[in-house]
Every structure is written in C-alpha cells, then in structure tokens.
Amino acid sequence: MLRKILNLLVEKQIKDVVCTEDILKSIDGQDKEYIEANFNMQIFNDLRSATFFSNGEVNSSNKPVILIIKGEFLPNIYTGITEAWFQRSNINIISIFEKYDEIKVEYLERCIPDILTIYDDGIEEYKNTIYKFIDNNMPALINIKYTLKLEEKSDYTSIINMLDSIVKNTVDVFIYNFKNESKNNISIKNIEPKYKYGILSKYMGYITAKEKKSLLIMPYELLKIDLNIFNNRYINENVKIIIYKGKEQNNIEEWIKDNKIEILKTEKIDEKIFKKFWDLNKASVLIVEEEK
C-alpha cells in the first residue's frame, strides 16, 4: 500500500518528503530506494522536529509536503501539527502501523481535519480522497498497515557480567531493546523500541527519585531525540550512561561535556574502562565506538 500511495504522489508531482531515520530502516529496501529516487527527501531523527520542519518547507514553497512516519510515534507530531493547523499548512502524513488495532488517533481530530485509514489493498477507491487531501490546504493523515522490519535485539551480557562482578547492592540497569534477563544484583529494565522517545528523560527522572546509581545502555541514535535533557539541575554522580556510537558521525560530546558530565571513550568495552567509568564520582557517559 505504501508504494501505491507513493505512486499517486509521483503522479501528482509531489516532490518533498520528510521522514524519520527509523522508518527508512524499517521499510522494505525497494520502497526506500523508490522514495530516494523520486522525491526530495529530508531525514530527521526527531519526529517533533520533522513536523515543524515540514511546516517550514510548506511556508516557504507553498507546496504540499509528505511526512512518512511510524504510527506508534504519532503523538510526537501533536505540537507541530497543531501549529500547522493554525497556519493551514498542507502537510500530508503517511503513518505506518503494524496492526489495525494500534490505530487510535481521535486526539488528532481537532488539528487534522482529513483523516483516512486504509484497511485493504486496493488503491482505486481511495484515489480521489487522497488527491483531495493533497489539494486541501490543511494537514491530512493517512494511516496504513505495513509489515516493518523488526529491530534486532542487542546483547549486552558482557557489560551485565562486568557490573555484576563489581557491585555489592542491587543496581537498576535500563537497556534499550535487550534480550537478556535480570541476574543476581542486576535488575534489568528493558526499554522496548516503541518507548524509545524520552529514554534519557525517563532515566533522569527515575534516578532522581531513587537517589542511587543506575546504568543506562542505549544506541547513539536515541541521544539525538532527547538531547536537551542534559541541561537539567538534577544531574549528579548517579548518572551512568553507556552509548554505542557505531558508525554515527555526529559529535554530541561537546554538548554533553558542557553540562558537567564526564565523557569516556573506548573502542571496545573491557573491565578496566568499565570500572573506571562506574567508580567515577561524577556523572559519566561512556561512548563505545563498537556498533551494536
């Protein structure tokens, strides 16, 4: 269905597409190539920013912009699309869900006048409606079902073992998309991919309440959607974050350092560096170059 809608957009000579990094990684490779070949594509990490960005493009070009996103993160468009509604911006959102019963969008009805959910595979009966949406100078939302690639779970067993060997009391460990269970003194809190927004903020709130050291392990890309939380008054020596950078090019380290957080870097994590990181009496972030 995504390809069929994209075909319609090409027919309509729509050029501008904004999408998030995660959707590009999750859709079929051929669909991704099709988008890259036929549209001016802008990739944003943060969906809230992507929405505001789309609005900006519409302001400037007076042409429709298509925003392609994962439906489970729709709440992040709320603020940008409300502004777009006021400005009567022609932003057309294609929202991709894996299951129909996940499509709960009543809260958006107050700021998106045109909402369509496509339940089957035929495009012909929806063509006129979709064209009407595109011609209408207001935000629109098209919900479709699509089988997305699953994000692979990561294995941080070695880190867990390292931590377990050095702590005497129970430690909470927040891990993004982790496949292992809690052990001994380590209480694992798995963060599912659908809750990837605000990981740092949630972690900060948690340790503020608990007033004890807790570990967060996450991929670098999730830093990019929760950056500003480093600027808060509650950062203290209990903050311990391990970030797997992999092939990421952005250099966010300066920003983190500016907020009185110690940065340690390593190509691959070993016991020595881990102990140094854990025992540091300061908020610390350990950046691991290895890809996970």
Binding site: R48, F73, P75, N76, Y78, T79, T82, E83, K104, V105, E106, Y107, R110, C111, Y195, Y197, G198, S201, K202, Y203, M204, G205, Y206, I207, T208, A209, K210, D226, N228, I229, N231, N232, R233, Y234
Partner: protein, 578 residues
C-alpha cells in the same frame, strides 16, 4: 503565600488531601498561579524542565520509581501537546501521570486569541480521565470544580493506574495574597482493599440517616430488602424510595410528592445528617430540595462500579460494593434500635398530604388504576405524568415497576415495555400518554411477537402533551397546542387493528369503572384501554393538588402578602378554614 485564583486553590487543597506531592514544572505565565503557590509550600516537591515533552518523560521516570502520581504543569497551547508522547506511554504502562494544563478563556479561542488551542480532552484515547475546570464565578462553578477534580484524582488508580488530565482556566493570574487556602471537600472511594467497616459503623452512630433508594431492577432482591429493613430497624434511619427502587415496606416513604410541594424551610427540617443512596437512577423530585452543602449533611453513595454521583453536592464517600453487602456489614453486631424520632418528622409531613375529591382527569384515572393493579404484575409508566402520579399512590410491593427515568424521554416507552413484558409471564401493564404512544407506534407491530399474551396498555389521551399545559397553560399561550404541546386528533383505536389487540375506551368515570374491570381481567388477547381527558383540566387539577398541599402556614403568609384583605376573607370562606 498562595494564589487568590479560586480554581487553583481548590486544586491545591485536593492535591494535598490526595497526597499528590511531586511536580515537574515547565515555565509559563498561565501556570504561574499554581507553580508559585506550590513551590512555597513545603508539602510539595518541585522540579524544573523546560521542554514539556522531556518534562513529561522525566515525570514518567519519577512516577515509575516512586509508584506515586507525579504532576506536570505547563502554560497554555502547544506546550500541552508536548505531553502527548509521555501520556501515551503512561497509559500503556499504567503510570500515574497528572497533566495539569493551564488554559485561557475559552470563548475567544480561534478568534484571534493568542496562544490558545482546544485543550479539552486533548489526550483522548490515552487518558484515564479528563476534566475541564472553569474560572470560578459563582457557587455552581465552585461545586463543579471541586467535584470534577475529585473525580479526576479518583481515576488515577481506579480499575487501572494511568494518566489523567485536569485542564483549568486562568483568565488572569491574580495575586499571591492568601495565607491559608480553605480545605476543600474530598470524595473518598472505599473498596474491599481499603474499607474499615467498623469505622463506617462508628460514623453512623447517633446520626439522623436518610436512606434514599434509587432504581433497582434486580430480580434477586430479597437479601437486599432484608438487609435494608434490618438497617432501618437498628439505626435512626428513614427510608425513602420511588416506585423504580422496587424496594417497598409499609414503613418506607415514597416522598416523590414532596418534590412538588416542599418549601426550603421544610426541606431543612427534613434534612438528615447522613444521606445514603444506592441505585442506578434517582427519579424522585425530592432530590431537588436536598442540598448537602446548604443543609449541612454528608452524602454517601453505594455503587458496584464506584461511580461518583454528587447529586446532593456534598458527596464524601463512595462504597464500591453491592448495596446488600454494605447494609449487611452495617447491621453486623449492632444492637441499637431506631427511636423513630427522625422518621416521625417525615411521616408527619406525609400524613398532611390530602388528595381529596378529584374531577375526572388523568389524576383520578391513575388513582383508580393504581387501586386495582393485580398483585405480581409488572407496570411500566411513561414520561411524565404517568410516572409522576403513580408515585403519589401506594403500589403493592409485589408489583415490579419500570420507567425510562434515566433520560426522561417520551420515545421508546412502548418498545421498552414490550421488552420487559417479553421476559416475564406476569401480567404486564403499560401506563402511557397519547404523545408517547404515538411516538413509538412502530412498536405496535411487535405486540404479537411477544410471548407474553397478558399485555395491557392504558393510554390517557388528552390530545396533547399535558406537561406543557401544566407548565404554561392556554391562558398564557393560546397557541400551545399548535407546536409546543403538539395537539392532535389521531384515532388511537385504529392502531389496535394492526396487531389484533382488543380495544376499550372510557370518557367518564362510569365508563372507566366498567372497563377497568375488563382491563385487569383475563383475556385471550392484549387489551388497550383508551381514556379521554382534557389536558388543561388535567393540569389544573394537578396544580390545585399541589397548592392545597403546600404547608398551610407558608401558604397563608404568601397569600396575605399578595392579596388585599377583602379577598382573604372570601378565600377563607371558600376554603372553610378558621
């Protein structure tokens, strides 16, 4: 010092009473009355995060760690939208987030008002409960704000833990000049996890208690009946009901008639110290005269689902259990006896109600009908006079009574009745007005599909909506029957041919006496009895009944004030009073 913005004061008082102390604040003007008030109060623990989306996620982490509700506050407009991602997660993961969204005046919204969006129920689909609190301009606003905020807090962890939204309007930010804020009424919900029955019984000791029974169609009533009876015998209780409570006893009082004749002073005298209610819907117009705040009584409500019903404006306790369980617990190990002193006040007033001789009218027809309804029948009364007047008369306790008093519509009475009749073998009576019958005429085509053949339909046909003749009358609105009362000349007899129903009619007392006997007797087929009355006469007779039963002293006072002396003498003669 606290803010003088009243709805914020109510909010703060209830936050404290519900022990909600954690706040994550984002900067803004609109929420300053709240934020500055709480940041100075040592009860509250405050944090500051600028980005509302991060603030809500931070609060989520806090709440998860503490397993307590955490509030987030922000200014109006899109700031509130930024809470949505965390609200969704809180909903899915059962975390108690409290979104306190400050708001501007609503009238100018979208009409060039800056920083203003529709924030009412803006997290729909992912919120346990959402309320919109107005700026307080009068007592009704105050009651509404108090009640709504209570309702919202109660839903933080009722059935499921999850987020709530309290949207509150702050047209202007007021001043910080209040040293102590008043303690607000708090509603507490009790269930099997937190109820101390001993304490409840203590609270009832030596109190004047009014048990107000609402609609109850439960077929397994006996245990409840017995428990209420024993409760009545053991406590200083008066039990009032309407017919739809289906809970009768010679000692209980159908005080529906009071709704139309009671004065404020009398209501004060009759008011209890504790009112206990149970039932799905409360018909009795008596409810319009009892106000917990004015008359200083507490209201306790018993409901299996723990629903908040604050009809008397001073609900303090909800017991989330079956009524029979509540009363069963209340009578356990209690050896006191009802001294009937409080009950006497009610009974005295009821005994003063006189019906007198009635001309032929819907009033007299219903009186006569109520006298002869066979025991062990069912009776459905339609809106409105059928319901009103049947409640003035005693109906045998074996007769199960129904009415659509949930929303008081005249639509669907006939259909509802057929549904009720279809599920019983008992004789089934429908007492209905002409407009209501004609409205639901389609139901006529189903009469012969009903298994129960003992169907009896009594239509009081006064060729118009009699309620409007009561409210206005032809002297005030000569064209009343044109649209308002929807006057008609329809021949209802012709409708009975549709489904093989026997037709009887009466246009005076003599004919009624004869046909009423046939109506309640055995028959092979359903019977429809149409009784013709006059709408204006019906209205007058009803009003006369009320006027003659209004408390004499007050009535006299009013008359003396309004009429010249020479007319008072004439009136005295007419009434044959000293």
């Amino acid at each position: 010092m606290y803010t003088n913005v009243r709805n914020v004061q109510i909010l703060i008082s209830l936050l404290k009473q519900f022990n909600i102390k954690y706040f994550v604040n984002s900067p803004g003007t609109r929420n300053t009355p709240l934020v500055h008030s709480i940041e100075e109060d040592p009860f509250f623990k405050c944090y500051s995060i600028v980005d509302e989306r991060s603030a809500a996620y931070f609060a989520l982490g806090l709440s998860e760690a503490l397993d307590e509700p955490v509030c987030v506050t922000c200014t109006a407009a899109t700031a509130t939208c930024n809470y949505m991602p965390a609200i969704k997660e809180a909903y899915e993961r059962n975390i108690q987030l409290v979104a306190l969204t400050s708001d501007r005046e609503s009238y100018p919204m979208f009409h060039m008002q800056d920083q203003s969006i529709n924030q009412v129920n803006m997290y729909k689909g992912y919120i346990n409960y959402s309320v919109d609190i107005p700026a307080i301009l009068n007592q009704e606003d105050e009651w509404f704000a108090n009640r709504s905020i209570n309702e919202a807090f109660l839903e933080l962890n009722h059935n499921r833990k999850g987020p709530i939204q309290i949207n509150y309007h702050v047209p202007s930010w007021g001043a910080f000049c209040v040293k102590d804020i008043p303690k607000e009424r708090k509603i507490t919900r009790y269930n099997k996890n937190n109820i101390n029955w001993k304490e409840v019984k203590e609270n009832l000791k030596n109190k004047k208690i009014l048990v107000f029974c609402g609609m109850n169609y439960n077929n397994n009533n006996q245990e409840l009946q017995n428990n209420v009876k024993e409760f009545y015998e053991k406590y200083s209780a008066t039990v009032v009901f309407d017919n739809y409570a289906n809970l009768k006893d010679d000692n209980y009082i159908n005080a529906s008639v009071f709704g139309d004749i009671l004065t404020e002073k009398e209501a004060q005298k009759l008011a209890p110290e504790i009112m206990i209610t149970f039932g799905k819907v409360f018909y009795s117009p008596l409810k319009g005269h009892l106000n917990g705040k004015k008359q200083n009584f507490e209201h306790w409500h018993i409901d299996e689902n723990g629903i908040v019903i604050d009809g008397f404006k001073n609900l303090t306790k909800i017991f989330e259990c079956e009524p029979k369980i509540f009363f069963e617990e209340m009578i356990k190990e209690v050896n006191t006896k009802n001294n009937h002193e409080y009950e006497q006040i009610w009974k005295k007033r009821i005994s003063e109600i006189k019906i007198g001789n009635l001309s032929f009218s819907n009033f007299s027809v219903i009186r006569d009908f109520c006298k002869v309804i066979p025991k062990n029948s069912i009776l459905h009364s339609s809106v409105l006079n059928s319901i009103r007047i049947t409640n003035y008369f005693k109906i045998d306790e074996s007769i199960k009574c129904y009415a659509n008093v949930g929303a008081d519509g005249i639509d669907g009475a006939f259909s509802t009745f057929l549904g009720q009749a279809n599920k019983t073998d008992k004789m089934a009576f429908l007492l209905i007005g002409d407009l209501s019958y004609l409205y639901d005429l389609n139901a006529c085509l189903n009469v012969n599909k009903i298994k129960n053949r003992n169907i009896r339909i009594l239509i009081i046909n006064n060729y118009a909506g009699a309620e409007f003749h009561k409210n206005f009358g032809l002297s005030m609105i000569p064209t009343l029957n044109l649209h308002i009362a929807a006057g008609h000349n329809t021949k209802i007899e012709e409708t009975t041919g549709m489904e093989n129903v026997e037709y009887l009619s009466a246009k005076n007392q003599e004919e009624l006496n004869i046909n009423l006997k046939k109506f309640i007797g055995k028959s092979e087929k359903p019977i429809l009895l149409e009784v013709f009355t006059n709408a204006d006469t019906d209205a007058q007779i009803l009003k006369d009944f009320w006027i003659t039963n209004i408390n004499e002293k007050i009535y006299k006072k009013i008359i003396r004030k309004l009429l010249p002396k020479k007319y008072i003498a004439k009136l005295k003669k007419l009434l044959k009073r000293g």
